[in-house]
């Protein structure tokens, strides 16, 4: 187990280097002059130009620039934007908001999705089953900006059940309730269907028949023996979904005015702010890899047939 984790961590190094290099190269290839408009209406002086170029290594070839960037990254320095704003400060401010939103969305989809999946799986073909089947289909087929807008209008503006937008910089849990539900709604549908399908399949399995013939109650045979097996793929899905949500949600963030990482990357790309884009993407790559590793380890714990030796 220990060697497995070590091996996986070592494998992350080339992935991180590759991903950051690709992003770095793409930003490098973008046309444009960072000094244009820097000094107001007139062009910058030659002395300023030289100092600026020197400071941001703008005359170095791509590989050298990248090497210098990675060197600083290794010491935890994400560099700064051309406006002398430290990227790490921006990330520190915005990443907790994204993480909070992602966690709330995951809790929502896990709770509602699994409960709906179990209820429909146990009573196949009933009213609730059809209701969930249709409503998940609707949710899956409607794009998130429509759901977000509708939820905001009806639940927020018209009926006043939830705050309409996020107004403070740090985004409170209360303000994030509605966006989290909108963000999680698509995955609720998938989790519910995945749980239902797996439960229905496992209810027909031989070991559930054994559980019944052992004299267990139906509740225990289904709730423990069948469900435990049915949740293995569901947990995997939720884990990967969590990794994806931690990458920010541009659409949901912009609908609800959430100062998260998704909007930050979007704005940075538009304003050709290379340092911010590369820094943020680096963090996202690392988070995604770590979440993946945790999911794989969890999978081994849930299913003893998977071994990590």
């Amino acid at each position: 187990m220990g060697t497995y984790i070590l091996r996986r961590l070592l494998q992350m190094i080339p992935v991180i280097l590759g991903a950051t290099f690709l992003i770095f190269a793409m930003v490098f290839a973008l046309p444009g002059d960072p000094l244009a408009g820097k000094c107001g209406e007139r062009p910058c002086s030659a002395a300023y130009r030289a100092a600026f170029t020197e400071k941001y290594n703008l005359n170095d070839p791509l590989l050298v620039q990248y090497g210098k960037y990675v060197g600083k990254l290794a010491t935890g320095d994400f560099g700064e934007t051309y406006n002398q704003i430290k990227v790490s400060d921006q990330l520190k401010q915005r990443y907790p908001v994204t993480a909070k939103l992602a966690l709330m969305a995951i809790l929502f989809e896990t709770l509602i999705g699994i409960v709906a999946g179990v209820l429909t799986g146990v009573r196949r073909g009933g009213f609730l089953d059809n209701l969930v089947l249709v409503s998940t289909l609707v949710v899956i087929s409607i794009p998130v900006f429509v759901i977000g807008g509708l939820a905001q209008y009806f639940l927020g503006v018209k009926w006043g059940l939830f705050p309409v937008t996020v107004t403070s910089g740090e985004a409170t849990v209360y303000q994030l309730l509605l966006p989290a539900m909108v963000l999680g709604s698509l995955s609720v549908a998938y989790v519910a269907r995945l749980t239902r399908t797996n439960l229905v399949e496992n209810l027909r399995s031989d070991y559930v028949r054994t559980a019944i013939s052992k004299g267990l109650t139906k509740r225990r045979a289904i709730g423990l023996h069948a469900l435990r097996n049915s949740l293995i793929p569901v947990v995997t899905f939720i884990g990967f979904d969590f990794g994806a949500l931690l990458g920010g949600a541009i659409v949901t963030e912009s609908i609800f005015n959430i100062p998260g990482i998704g909007g930050y990357i979007f704005r940075s790309i538009r304003s050709r702010d290379g340092a911010s884009v590369v820094g943020a993407v680096t963090v996202l790559v690392i988070v995604y890899l770590v979440v993946n590793l945790i999911v794989d380890l969890l999978y081994g714990l849930l299913d003893p047939r998977i071994s990590h030796d």
């Binding site: 054994t210 052992k214 435990r228 003893p304």
Partner: protein
Amino acid sequence: MTVQDTTRTDTGAIRYEPQDGVLLEVEDLYVEFHTADGVATAINGVSFELRQGESLAILGESGSGKSVTAQAIMGILDMPPAVIPQGHIRYCGHDLLTMDEEQRRKTRGPEVSMIFQDALSSLNPVFPVGWQIAEMFRIHRGMNKSDALDQAIRLMERVQIPAARERVKAYPHQFSGGMRQRIMIAMAIALDPAVLIADEPTTALDVTVQAQIMSLLEELQEERQMGLILITHDLGVVADVADRIAVMYAGRLVEKAEVHELYRSPAHPYTRGLLESIPRLDQKGQTLAAIGGLPPNLMRIPPGCPFNPRCRMAQDVCRRDLPALREVAPGRLSACHFAEEVIDA
């Protein structure tokens, strides 16, 4: 007077006592499967009884209804699609089919227990084997975890699993097929059931392991004086273990006899066909006699004797009249119009 009387002391629970030595009585049982394509009659009026310490083998091809009979006794048929339109299954005089569900649940394990064909899929893959055996004691006896686990180790030792104490926390996939079936057996006998049903317990195993499992079952059955119902299609397996054999065909019992009598002189052409289809060393080089044709579609069982399309002796009467299961010799039942001729042949 027997093992199981001493174990039922909890107050309020029903005390099950065999009546004149009879543990289980199946009477005129019917099981139908209602599907989109129509109604399949899987069991068509089957009756038999099982006595204390007796081994009854139920023999038949796939689709003959032998497994469905076992599942009906155990109460693990999927209903629907399965329907039991009539019949009785009495355990110590109590009809399991009319008993309330909670009461019946409590009979599964302590009174009637079952072993399945494929131990790998029948054991839960995500729980340790010891935990799965211990679950019996925790649910039915209210034992705490560690006591129950001790009992599980004791049982694993009883069914001769080497290093039971070390392996109690291992998972089903970490055992060989034979060891897994031993674990199934340990689980089934955990609460000293009076009736043990073994549904093709050795079909999925290597031949050498088959013999070990059968002798273990035989040993346990003798030790605990259980009534054993052995369901199989393998005539070779039953000869040593069974006392009596009931042969099923298309949902009906077609012959019932003491094991040696049946081997010596079968009283039904179907049984004889089965016996002739066993490969024998002294007939090397000869063509193996197989029963031609296939068992009937259970939605369209032919009129008359259900075996008549495959029977070499079939006459007009066989295509017209359903032969009743009748006594053709002392202690021997056969459902063939020409049973006397078959038995003398």
